[in-house]
Amino acid sequence: MSGAADEVAAIGGGLRTASVRAVEASEVRRRVLVIVLRIVVGVAFIWLWHHASGRWIDTLLISSPEAVGLRLWHWTLDGTLWTNLSVTLEATALGFVIGCGIGFSLGLLFGRYRLLAEVFDPYITAIYSIPKIALAPLFIIWFGIGIESKVAVSAAIVFFVIFLNTFSGVREVDPLYVNTTKIMGGGELSVLRHVIIPSAASWVITGLKVSVPYALVGTVIGEFMSSNSGIGYLISQATGLFNTASVYAGIIVLALVGAIINAGLKQVEARVLRWRGD
């Protein structure tokens, strides 16, 4: 039976021969090599920074790794880091959740109802082409200098990414799945739950991954413009005082936060989309 080999390959079977172990060993070696090279690049960059600082380039411009490290250390000890970071994270998370929620719901709605999408298309395109940063001063007038205006900026940025991705995802759903599910007895809600949403999930998750850094950017821009706490506030304060060590320290914190959140989302993606196989 010609399907037999396929079936064995599909679910286990076969033997752990020497060549299987050789292939696995070479995969491990490669992973280790990548990690080692990553560390080498990082160390080389810091070393170059250290050497350039004060020797080739004015310390005022690029500070130095020692000064930045020391600043981060002090911020950690005196609580500055956590106080401000928590403000930024809270605004980012709220903006992200609100933007995602509205973007996802509207994306589903517009994806399912063609007329709605056609009517609103030019308006959405017009609003989409506005740089959302231009809305930040407006949001500060509306919501004040507290957390609300930062939430609004990041929600506005995240909304569009998620909305457009969900919309495309819903549009791409294979009508064969929809029809077959209906014939099997599924109603509109079942189709939405078992076909449309899972099918659009890969688009939505791509949107989520793209929009996390955007949410962070939105919050930090809001903090730059007017605020009294947050990492963006720390950076803009330090800029005003030409305290470059603090500026770099703030930037590094933001970079780390973005990287950590993205790594988390990758885990979520691997779980939700595990049906795709390798």
Partner: protein, 262 residues
């Protein structure tokens, strides 16, 4: 007239409008399919045989005429049929058992009962042990068996199949035909089977309907004079098979040549 599960197609016409033109896909189709009958549709590509099947499924509306199923006119999605196409319709984001359980869920079977039923159906198509696998992890033939298990699980009395085994290799195709025939002998559903493979049509069906090239019309209807309980691997060597095949080919060949010339 047909009994309970039969299909009555009355004066059906199907036209498509596109790019400012109207194209006639099917014209003057009259056909009665008895309950429990296995009917195959054959015809050149584009003759509208799949279109007719999709109209029975209620996916496409008829332009003129009517289709009765269970004595009721089909006006929207027909939930009294099982539907299987060449392309896989098993949902890739659900495991094998979740796929098979889905229609049972729609029909309100309690979860505990569902589990046993799904296990029994997977066993029936030789897929026990694969319940937790995702479709992407299976071979094409196995995915077909998942679709078959799904159809069996909720047991519609009418099956609409559009070249369901078209993408499989020759041997696997024979195995699937054998499986389908066994299931049909056991349950006697009404089956509409669309194919472009004449041998497949003769092997499986009680009656074969030949469609002409576009606009599709019924050109010939050939009753297949073979035992109901036939052996799909050997039936092709019987003289009745050869006779039916020859007559069907004589009806079909000019239509295919017309399509070539156009």
């Amino acid at each position: 007239m047909t009994g309970g599960a039969g299909i009555a197609i009355r004066g059906v016409r199907k036209a498509y409008v596109g790019r400012g033109r109207e194209v006639l896909a099917l014209d003057r189709i009259d056909l009665t399919i008895e309950a429990g009958e296995f009917v195959a549709f054959v015809g050149p590509s584009g003759c509208g045989k799949s279109t007719l099947m999709n109209m029975i499924a209620g996916i496409l509306p008829v332009t003129e005429g009517s289709i009765l199923h269970h004595g009721r006119a089909v006006t929207g999605i027909n939930r009294d049929v099982g539907y299987m196409t060449q392309r896989d319709a098993v949902l890739p984001w659900r495991t094998v058992e979740q796929n098979v359980a889905l229609p049972l869920r729609f029909h309100g079977m309690p979860a505990a009962q569902r589990r046993d039923h799904v296990a029994a159906m997977l066993d029936h198509v030789g897929l026990s042990g694969f319940g937790r696998a995702y479709p992407a992890e299976l071979s094409g033939g196995m995915r077909k068996r998942v679709a078959l298990a799904q159809l069996l699980a909720y047991g519609p009395d009418t099956l609409l199949m559009d070249e369901p085994f078209g993408a499989l290799d020759a041997q696997l195709k024979l195995l699937m035909q054998e499986r389908l025939l066994r299931i049909w002998l056991e349950r006697r559903q009404t089956v509409v089977f669309v194919t472009h493979d004449l041998a497949e049509a003769v092997t499986l069906a009680n009656r074969v309907v030949v469609f002409s090239g576009r606009p599709g019309r019924i050109k010939a209807i050939e009753p297949i004079d073979l035992p109901v309980d036939r052996d799909v691997f050997r039936v092709r060597f019987l003289p009745e098979f050869e006779a039916a095949y020859t007559r069907l080919w004589d009806a079909l060949a000019p239509e295919i040549r017309k399509g070539e010339a156009a």
